[in-house]
């Protein structure tokens, strides 16, 4: 694991010591190379995990997420190039440093063995994200967004700290590899239920669960593009990853404690999809669609069946790539017209046809078109939810329909129809932007061929 972490740390001096005209190029190329270095981790020799050291390990659940994280850094850097052009050089370097710092924490989080280390790095990821949102966001509302983001996540994760330290003292070890083999099971007493809640709340807020999701639309909309990308693609998955790891040791309390959260997720999934239909701000629409997809993941993790775990993992990876792609597309619109409102920028297919192709592919993957990996995730979750309770199929079916509706609404509003007069002199797509979209789409489409690498531990 050090072969990934040390180069990532060394990206920081690379940024600061590069010449101004090579700064972006250097950081992009070297972070791409680091993601190549991550690939060999995919070679998992056995059902169990690849134990690399006392501190770090990687198994078939954390490896796809790790790949996603390392893949995303060069994409974030490519996406930020335009809106940072007017900043002074030191501030540009600081921005890239924040992204790299976030990357370091995320890599360590996903490969952490010890749960306390996982927790510390989980909290540590908040700081660079907060700095990115509040310092480089677009509008005055970003301060509010930063506060919501910080305090929701902090307040949710403080009980986790208490629960973890308690478990450490009673159990003796919080090594994830060992806790899988826990024989002392939790009971149905109040204390254990509260312990369960304490463990899960942090990740519920992070996912986010429907009732605790208020920070997400604010943070996603106000963040600059790199912030939105990393928030949508990775930080939400931190919650999913944490939940997947911790539910291993929380049986069987989960079986009845899960009900309120299942209700909230099912209802929230339909609600947030419906809100998407009425959104006028493009980024806000994509943010709410993230909440909707993550609600599926929460439900899948809470019912704890092999199929649902596979579906949850696949959905996390697929959604990470799709959501990040959609944010990049929305950002390419915003950079040209300085407005995120959908009705002011219409009919782009006539003017930027290649970008329209990327929009189409992004929308198709977002609405889980077969045979994309989004479909695999959603299908596995739907099937396992049906076997858990027959009636859930109604809500899930409604959600899938509404997802298709709002995704097509977004596509048709921005791409089709007669173009508005005032966009006919927008700059054509840069190669950089096309590269960015292609780099998002390539893993998304290639994974269709071999989705078993993202199906997680239960495959």
């Amino acid at each position: 694991m050090l072969k990934i972490i040390i180069p990532t740390i060394m990206l920081i001096p690379l940024t600061w010591l590069s010449k101004s005209n090579m700064m972006w190029i250097n950081s992009t190329i070297y972070s791409l190379m680091i993601s190549m270095v991550c690939l060999p981790l995919m070679n998992q020799p056995c059902d169990n995990s690849l134990n690399l050291s006392m501190l770090f390990f990687s198994d078939s659940l954390s490896t796809p997420l790790l790949m996603l994280t390392t893949w995303l850094l060069p994409l974030m850097i490519i996406a930020s190039q335009y809106h940072m052009t007017k900043e002074p050089l030191a501030r540009k370097k600081l921005y890239i440093t924040m992204m790299i710092l976030l990357q370091i924490f995320l890599i360590m989080t996903f490969s952490a063995t010890e749960l306390i280390m996982f927790y510390i790095l989980f909290e540590a990821t908040l700081v660079p994200t907060l700095i990115i949102i509040t310092r480089w966001g677009g509008q005055t509302e970003r301060l509010n967004a930063g506060i919501y983001f910080l305090f929701y996540t902090l307040a949710g994760s403080l009980p986790l700290l208490v629960a973890l330290t308690y478990t450490q003292t009673t159990l003796g070890s919080l090594n994830m590899l060992l806790t899988q083999y826990l024989t002392e099971r939790l009971t149905h007493v109040w204390g254990d239920s509260l312990l369960w809640l304490a463990f899960m709340l942090a990740f519920m807020v992070k996912m986010p669960l429907y009732g605790l999701h208020l920070w997400l639309p604010k943070a996603h909309v106000e963040a600059p593009i790199a912030g939105s990308m990393v928030l949508a693609a990775i930080l939400l998955k931190l919650g999913g990853y944490g939940m997947l790891r911790i539910t291993m040791m929380l049986n069987p309390t989960v079986n009845f404690m899960a009900y309120p959260f299942m209700m909230l997720s099912m209802w929230g999934m339909v609600m947030t999809s419906s809100i998407c239909l009425r959104q006028t701000d493009l980024k806000s629409l994509i943010a709410y669609s993230s909440v909707s997809h993550m609600a599926l993941v929460i439900m899948a993790i809470l019912i704890q069946s092999p199929w649902s775990f596979m579906g949850a993992t696949a959905l996390m990876i697929a959604h990470g790539l799709t959501s990040s792609l959609l944010f990049c597309l929305a950002n390419s619109n915003y950079e040209r017209t300085h407005s995120r409102t959908m009705i002011l920028v219409r009919g782009l297919q006539m003017i930027l046809p290649l970008m329209a192709a990327w929009w189409l592919l992004a929308s198709l993957t977002n609405l889980a078109l077969p045979p994309s990996i989004n479909l695999i995730g959603e299908l596995f979750v739907t099937v396992s939810m049906f076997s858990w309770s027959n009636f859930s199929i109604i809500l899930l079916g409604i959600n899938i329909t509404i997802t298709a509706l709002y995704t097509l609404y977004m596509l048709i509003m921005t791409q089709r129809g007669k173009y508005t007069y005032h966009i006919h002199n927008i700059k054509p797509s840069y190669t950089r932007e096309n590269t960015l979209m292609l780099l998002h789409l390539t893993p998304l489409l290639l994974l269709m061929i071999n989705p078993k690498i993202i199906l997680g531990t239960m495959y």
């Binding site: 677009g138 509008q139 005055t140 009425r278 959104q279 006028t280 017209t337 300085h338 407005s339 409102t341 959908m342 009705i343 002011l344 920028v345 007669k418 173009y419 508005t420 007069y421 005032h422 966009i423 006919h424 002199n425 927008i426 700059k427």
Partner: protein
């Protein structure tokens, strides 16, 4: 700070080697720095002078989808219709920027407030027809929950235009066009005129056209306040400030004929606060120029008209302020309640104001006598020399009148053809115009607002086709002239 610490270490080393006292050494430097830091901390505490998070509530927001430059009746009308016609509610963020929140020099408040359909251009007639409908049903359009209904004090007394022998044929033609568009106008011979309005002296009048319905005058201030109240309730931001700069970016594009043009986009509008150098760059997608008499200056800020004359780049927006006087007099023997808004063959006009035999009136000066638009001072001699003789000739009762007061206001005068400019600019792609109506802007404001909003949201005029009033006519030289200018 680090340097101070290093100096200190170096200093200690020097002392250890037994050197004599240093002059201007690090220690006084260090305390100076410490006291500087202390001062900074103290000033950051409440009550201090340095406030990094200062109050910016007087500044406009940093981002707005549409910025409307000019908060008069045209600007507010555009804002209202934008908010009304946007498909999902609350989609667009609109900011209205006006330099003067007292509207002391705005044409709207200083206007005489007449509305007529007696124009020669069909578009003008249609605009006024819709505006009259708007005014009649103003409480359906501009109602705000829990607020009292608006009383725009519409006096539907009609317009009476008089024509001499020379102008009689044109007037007949105009009336035909007006009737085709749906205005209700009747033509009267001098005898009929004398019958209907016995106080008129029909000497020199060959024909008169009298508007039977939908013409009259209203209170422009009430319309302005009503619009303002409604759009505040719809969520439009208001800001008081002056637009000093547009940040644009250009791109060279080729027309289908192979000619190269430079198209521009406005990215940011710099709004400067009153009496200070503070300004806020507002990031925007669209700018609507509804600055009235000063639209020409705002257009120049965007680079319209900067180019070799005769080309599209070099075509300026030909709107400039022209001063017009309005006089308010009292005449106890004057015409009564049925007095229409009368425009004489000479160009002098008057209307009844209130119920106490008070009248408002004036006259448009000829090109040679144009007053200096630098200030709003009233020239009373103008009334004595140019207005009164014609009025007294036409209405004998006006031979004895007493001028109570007078004021001056600006026409946003379109020097090209005295008709409005509506729609986008061909080169500065995201600037739309709603200005240049040369004296009939107030009466057409509701309809023009709707037309501009349709152009912005749907890309074309849908209800009233104003494509003859686009900017490109200035470059192509196609004058759209109005023959009934008052």
């Amino acid at each position: 700070m680090f340097r101070g610490a290093l100096w200190l270490l170096a200093g200690r080393g020097c002392v250890g080697r037994g050197l004599s006292t240093r002059s201007g050494g690090s220690t006084p430097d260090w305390t100076e720095k410490v006291s500087e830091i202390k001062k900074k901390i103290q000033s950051a505490l409440p009550g201090g002078a340095w406030d990094p998070l200062y109050d910016t509530s007087h500044l406009p927001p940093e981002h707005s989808d549409v910025v409307i430059v000019g908060g008069g009746v045209l600007g507010l009308s555009v804002a209202y219709w934008l908010k009304r016609l946007e498909k999902p509610r609350g989609a667009i963020r609109v900011l209205v920027v006006d330099r003067d929140h007292t509207y002391s020099r705005a044409s709207t408040g200083l206007s005489v407030g007449g509305i007529r359909q007696q124009f020669s251009l069909p578009e003008n007639i249609q605009l006024s027809l819709f505006s009259v409908d708007f005014l009649r049903n103003i409480n359906e359009y501009l109602a705000v929950v829990d607020d009292p209904p608006l009383d725009v004090q519409f006096n539907p007394s009609g317009y009476l235009l008089l024509a001499s022998e020379k102008g009689a044929a044109i007037m007949e033609n105009n009336v035909k066009v007006q009737r085709q568009e749906g205005a209700k106008v009747c033509l009267m011979s001098p005898e009929q005129l004398q019958n209907k309005f016995p106080w008129i002296n029909t000497d020199g009048v060959a024909l008169a056209s009298y508007g039977l319905e939908g013409e009259g005058w209203f209170d422009p201030w009430c319309l302005l306040q009503g619009l303002r109240r409604k759009i505040q309730s719809l969520g439009v931001f208001f800001c008081q400030g002056e637009v000093t700069r547009f940040s644009t970016s250009s791109s060279r594009m080729q027309t289908s004929g192979g000619k190269e043009m430079t198209l521009k986009r406005i990215h940011e509008v710099h709004v400067k606060m009153d009496h200070s150098l503070e300004y806020q760059p507002v990031e925007c997608a669209l700018v609507i120029n509804a600055a009235g008499a000063w639209s020409g200056q705002v257009a120049e800020l965007a680079g319209i008209g900067k180019g070799p004359p005769g080309t599209l780049e070099g075509t300026k927006l030909p709107v400039e302020p022209r001063k017009r006087y309005v006089y308010f007099w009292h005449c106890p023997e004057g015409p009564g309640l049925e007095t229409p808004f009368m425009a004489d063959t000479s160009g002098a006009y008057f209307r009844r104001e209130g119920l106490g035999h008070n009248y408002l009136g004036g006259c448009s000066p000829t090109e040679e006598e144009e007053p200096d638009p630098g200030n709003l001072e009233v020239d009373h001699d103008f009334f004595q020399d140019k207005v009164w003789p014609h009025l007294a000739h036409r209405v004998p009762a006006f031979q004895s009148l007493k001028v109570r007061s007078a004021w001056a206001g600006y026409y946003d005068y379109n020097t090209f053809d005295q008709n409005g400019v509506v729609g986008p600019h061909p080169l500065v792609v995201n600037m739309y115009f709603a200005t240049g109506f040369s004296g009939h802007g107030l009466q057409q404001a509701p309809a023009v607002g709707r037309a501009v909003a349709e152009m912005v949201l749907k890309g074309q005029f849908q209800t009233i086709d104003l494509s003859s009033l686009l900017f490109s006519r200035f470059y192509l030289g196609e004058k759209v002239e109005e023959r009934n200018i008052i």
